[in-house]
Symmetry: D2
Subunit: 342 residues, 4 copies
C-alpha cells in the first residue's frame, strides 16, 4: 500500500534530491511540498530538472493537511526544524535532515550549535539515523535524525574499527574532502562558481566543524570511553561527493578484515580489495559507499578511505532508506540507481 | 519474459551508460560484454562505478555465444562496427551506436567518412534510430543505426518545423555546444582536463562535422528538396550535455505551436513555455529532451533551443528506447530516471 | 613620472583585476581604494590573492582626498556610477567600468536601462572606450566609458567588416559564450558552483541583453544606417573568457583580409590564419584578443570568431590600456602578461 | 647583459610555463626550444596561447648550437634527462626539471625510480633546487635539480619545524591535494576531463609516491637522523595548485613562530596570521607560497598548511628563480606576477 509523504523545505538541494529518489519509488506518493519563501510556486520553476514530474505546488507548512500524511521529511535549515517538528501531529512519523536532533545530550547541542535546544523532549526521543548501525531503533522510531554528511562518511570508515578495538583510539586523523552541494543552496560568496572552481582549501579550522559533535558522541558511545578524533574538512571544486582519508594506527589486515566483516551483506556498503582506494567519481548520484584500507610503508599505520555522495547516501538517500525501514518497505526501494559516470 | 543482451565495446562511455540503464530495466539481462583490448578484465576494473553489479567479465567478440542473445548493442568505434555486424547471426537483432549505418546512401557515407562502406547490403537495411520519428520501422527492424548525438539534438529542434513548413529552409544556423563525453574515452590532448576545463572553442570548422551528413539526409527527406543547414559545434568544459541554439526565420508562435503539437504525448520530449530556454543542467543523466522557442526582437526571427544528455538520449538511452520497441517492452522501461541536479 | 590612481568599487572582480594589472605597471601608484560595505577592511581580507601587495585599506568614497589623484577607475555597479562621478572634481580624469556612460543618447540609455540618466551632461562628454577605434578621443577625454565585455567581443569581430562593407548588414547573428565572472561577485543562485558547473544555457533571451544597445549604437554609426544584429549570449561553466561566434554573409577571403588589415600592428589583436578558430583557453588572464574567420561549406557564408578574457581585455585591461593613453604612458604598460595555460 | 636560454622539452606544460615567465624577464632571451616529436613545429601550433611571442621554432636537441647558450632548462621526462644532460657542454649551466637529479644517493635513486642512475657523476654534483634553503649552493652550481612539486609543498610546511625541533619527528602526516597539471601533458585515461572533473581520489597509495624519496632525504638531513613521514597525495579536479595539510604534534605557537621567523624577508613565502589556512585559489599562476598554522582542539596538535602553484613555484617558477641566482639577476625577475583570481 502506498504511503503519503510530505517534504518540508523542498526548495533546497536535499529536498530536490528526495523528490528525485521518491519519483522512482513504487510505494511512496508525494502529497505535499513546502517552501516558505517560494510558496505558491511550482517545483518546475524552482527546480526545472523536475518539470516532467507530476508534483504538488509549493505551499507554506501551515497549509498542509497532515491528516493524510504518513511520513514527513523535514529538510529545513538547522534550528528551524526543532520548532516546526514540535508542532507536527504525533501520528506523523518524521525524518529530520537538519542538525537539530543529531546530538542526544542537550549540553552537547548547546556546545556545538551555540544555543539551547528548543525541543529537548523531542531530542531525547530522536534516533540517530545512520541506517546500518541503528536499524531496529529506526524501524520503530517516530523521529529519526539524519546524520551529518561528513559525519556519516567518517563513521563508515571508523565505527567497525572502534567497535572491534583494532585501532589506537587516541591517534585518529580524518582529513576530509567535501564537494560544495553539502553547503546547500545558500548565497555565500565562497560558494560562487568564480570563487570555488579551480581551487580548494580547508574550512572548519581547528576542530570547530559541528560534525565533530557527532563523531564525539558516536565514537565515545561505541568505545565506552571518550574518543576525540582530529577532523579537518576541505572544500573541493565538485558538486557531489565526500572522500574521507582517515589516518589510523592499526594493522591493515585487521582493519580490512574488520571492515569487510562489518559490511558483509550490506546492500550499499562495498569494501574494496585491500590496498585499493575509492573515488567520489564512482559513487556519484547513488546511495553507495565505497570503503578501502591501504597500508602505509611503516608497519602499523593504515589509511582508511570512505567515499559517498553527500546528497544521496550522506543525506536524502539515507533518509529514504530510513523511511523504507520505518514504513516496512524494501530498504533498497527507490535507491538502486547506478552511479553516474562520467 | 526477459531478453538476453550483449554489449560489444563495453569499455567505452556508451557501453558503460548502457550497463547503467539496463541495470534498472526489469526485463533485460546482460549476458555478454566485449572489449577487445580489455578482454579478460572485469567491468569493475574498467568502470569501478559498476563494481556492485553482477556482470559478466569482458571477453573478445569471438568468445560470445550469440545463440542465446536476443539483441546486441554494438558500441564499437566507427568503421569497426560494419565488419563486426556483418558477421553476426541474422537472428540477432542489432542496435549500432557507431556512425556506420546512419547514412543510407553509400555515396554519402563515402563523402563524409572518407572510404567506401564495407557492408552496403546492411546499410540499405538499417533503420535510422531517431525514435520518435521512426517508431514502426524501428519496431520491425533487424538493424537500427543510433543517430549522432549532435545530429539528434539538432533534429529535435528542427524536424517538426521543416515538416510543417513554418521556417525558411535556406537560412538555418545551428550553433551547438557539446560536452566532452561525446568524444568518447579516447586519449587525445584536447580532451585532457588541463586542456579543456576553464575554456571553450569551436571545432568541426567550416561545415566539416560528420553529423552534417545526417542533417542533410534527414532534413532533405522531410522537406522533399535539398536542405543544407549551417552547423557549428563548440566544445565546452562539461562532461554531459548538448545544447543546440538554432537560428531560424519564422514566427515564434508558429514555431512553438508546431513543436508543442509534434511532441504532445511524447514521454521524453518536453516543450517549454514560449519564451523560455532550456539548460543542459536540467536533463543530465536522463533520457529527457527540453525544447524551447524564443522570439528575437526582430519579427520573423526565432531561436529554437534543444538540450539533452549526449550519453543518454543522445546515444545509449536512445538505443535502449529503441531496444524496448524492438523487443516489445514498455518504451520507457529503464529510462525513467530523474535528471541529476546539482 | 608616476601617476596616482584611485579605484572606486575595489571589492568586485574588475576592481581586483585592476589591482592585479596595476601592480605590474611601472608608472602607476594605487593611492586609494574604496568599497562602501567593506570600508575599513584590508584588500588582503577581501581578496587574499593580493595579500602580498602593499595596498591602501578600503575606505568610503567620501574619505578619499582626490586632490592627489590623477585618474580614477570607477568599478561601481551600474546606476551607482553616474551619481558618484558627477561629484568628482573636474580635474580628476575618470574611466568608468560600469554601463552608465556607454550609450550616448539619453533615450537609448532609458530604453535599455529602464530609467532616465541622472547625469546627462556627463553622458554627452563621455568617450566610448573601445581602445583601438577611439584612440585620439580617449587620449583627450576626461571621462571614458568602458565597454560591455560582450559588446567588446562582438565589435572586435564585426567593426572592420561593417566599415568595409564586406558583409550583409541585415543578416548578422552573434552567438556568444560567456564565462561567469562577467556577472561579477554578486550573490545569485544561478552563479553558485553547484548551479553552474557541469552545464550551460542561454540567457538574455529574445534580444533583451543590454549590450545590444552598444551594438546598435556603434554598428549604426559605422554603417551610417540602422543596423540591428541578432545577439544571443550563453553562460558556460568557466570563470574567464568570452567567445563570440558570428554568422555573417560575405566571402571568407574578404572577411579575413579586412580583419587582418584592420588589426595589423595592433599590440593586442591577433588575427589567426584563415580557417582557424580561437579558444578562450589561449587568451585567459591576458589583454589579448584572438580573431578568426572560417568559411562555411556554402559559399558566401562565413563564421567570424573573437575570443578574449572578459575581466582583462573585456574590462579592466581595456581600462588600463585607456588610462595609458590618457596619461601618456606606453599603451602596453602593465598589460604584457602572457595568457595562463593550462 | 642578457643571457641566452635554451629550453629542452618545450612542448610540455613546464616548458610552456618557462616561456610564459621568461617572456616577462628583462634579461633573458630564449635562443632555442627543443621537442623531439614535435620538432619542426612552431610553438604557436603546440601552445596557441604563446602565438603572439617571437619564439624560435621547435628543433631536435642535436640541432641546437650550445655555443651561445648560457643556461639550459631541461624539461624532459624523467630518465631521459640524465642521458641528455650528460652530453651537454660543461660550460652550459643546467637546471633540470625532471626527477633525475633530486636524490643524491644512487641507492635511493634506484629504490624510488626502479633502475640504476645513468649519470652517477652528475648526480653527485647536482644541487637540490629548493631555492630558499640552498641559495649559495644554487648560485654556484653548474647543475641544479628542480624539486618535485609535491615535495616542495611539503617541505615549505615542514623544513623550518624539523630544523627547530618544535614537532615530533615520528608522527608527521602529509595529506596533499594536487591539481592535474602536475601529471603533465601525458595521455592517460584518468587525466581526461570526463574522468577527472566532478570527483577526486587518492593516488600514490601506501607510501609509494616517489616524492617520498625527497622527503626522506631532506628531512633526515635536517634532523640529523632518519625521518620518515606519512604522505598521501590526492588528485582533485583543478588544473593548478597543491595544498598540503600537514598533521603534526607540536604547539601551534611554536610552529607559527618558527615558520614566521624562517620566512621573514623571503620574497615569495608568506605566513598567514595564526589560525588562518591558505587556499590554492590565491596563489594560482604566481610564484607565491602561502603557509598557515592552525591549532587543533586538542592541545599539542597542529595542522600546518602550504599552498602553491605546481607549475610556477612548484616547478618552472622555482627553476627561473634558481636561474636568476645562477646568472646574477634579481631573484624576483620575471616572477612578480600577481595570482590570477578568479
Amino acid at each position: 500500500m502506498p504511503h503519503n509523504i510530505a517534504i518540508l523545505g523542498a526548495s533546497g538541494y536535499t529536498g530536490a534530491e528526495l523528490v528525485r529518489l521518491i519519483a522512482g519509488h513504487p510505494e511512496l506518493e508525494i502529497a505535499a511540498l513546502s517552501a516558505d519563501r517560494k510558496a505558491g510556486q511550482t517545483m518546475a520553476s524552482v527546480f526545472p530538472h523536475l518539470r516532467h514530474l507530476d508534483l504538488p505546488d509549493l505551499v507554506r507548512i501551515e497549509e498542509i493537511d497532515f491528516g493524510g500524511i504518513d511520513l514527513c521529511f523535514c529538510a529545513l535549515p538547522h534550528a528551524t526544524s526543532q520548532a516546526v517538528i514540535a508542532e507536527l501531529p504525533r501520528d506523523v512519523r518524521v525524518i529530520d535532515l537538519s542538525a537539530d536532533f543529531r546530538l542526544r545530550d542537550p549540553a552537547d547541542y548547546e556546545k556545538w550549535y551555540g544555543k539551547p535546544h528548543a525541543a529537548p523532549e523531542l531530542q531525547k526521543e530522536a534516533v540517530y539515523g545512520l541506517t546500518e548501525f541503528y536499524r531496529p531503533e529506526i524501524a520503530a522510531a517516530r523521529l529519526v535524525a539524519g546524520t551529518g554528511c561528513n559525519a556519516a562518511t567518517g563513521q563508515y570508515a571508523l565505527r567497525p574499527l572502534i567497535a572491534a578495538g583494532v585501532i589506537d583510539l587516541d591517534d585518529i586523523v580524518i582529513d576530509l574532502k567535501a564537494a560544495v552541494s553539502g553547503a546547500g543552496r545558500s548565497l555565500k560568496e565562497n560558494l560562487l562558481h568564480a570563487e570555488l572552481s579551480e581551487g580548494y582549501n580547508a574550512y572548519g579550522l581547528g576542530g570547530t566543524h559541528r560534525h565533530l559533535g557527532e563523531f564525539d558522541q558516536e565514537f565515545s558511545l561505541i568505545a565506552g570511553r571518550k574518543v576525540e578524533v582530529q577532523f579537518q574538512p576541505h572544500l573541493v571544486p565538485a558538486n557531489r561527493g565526500i572522500l574521507a582519508s582517515v589516518y589510523v594506527r592499526g594493522s591493515v589486515q585487521a582493519v580490512h578484515d574488520t571492515l569487510a566483516g562489518a559490511y558483509e551483506g550490506e546492500p550499499f556498503l562495498h569494501v574494496l580489495p585491500m590496498g585499493e582506494a575509492p573515488s567520489t567519481h564512482h559513487v556519484r548520484g547513488s546511495n553507495i559507499v565505497h570503503v578501502g584500507a591501504v597500508a602505509d610503508r611503516r608497519a602499523g599505520r593504515t589509511v582508511v578511505f570512505a567515499a559517498l555522495d553527500n546528497l544521496t547516501k550522506g543525506s536524502s538517500g539515507q533518509a529514504l532508506q530510513n523511511a523504507n525501514l520505518m514504513l516496512g518497505h524494501d530498504e533498497r526501494a527507490g535507491l538502486d540507481m547506478v552511479p553516474l559516470f562520467p
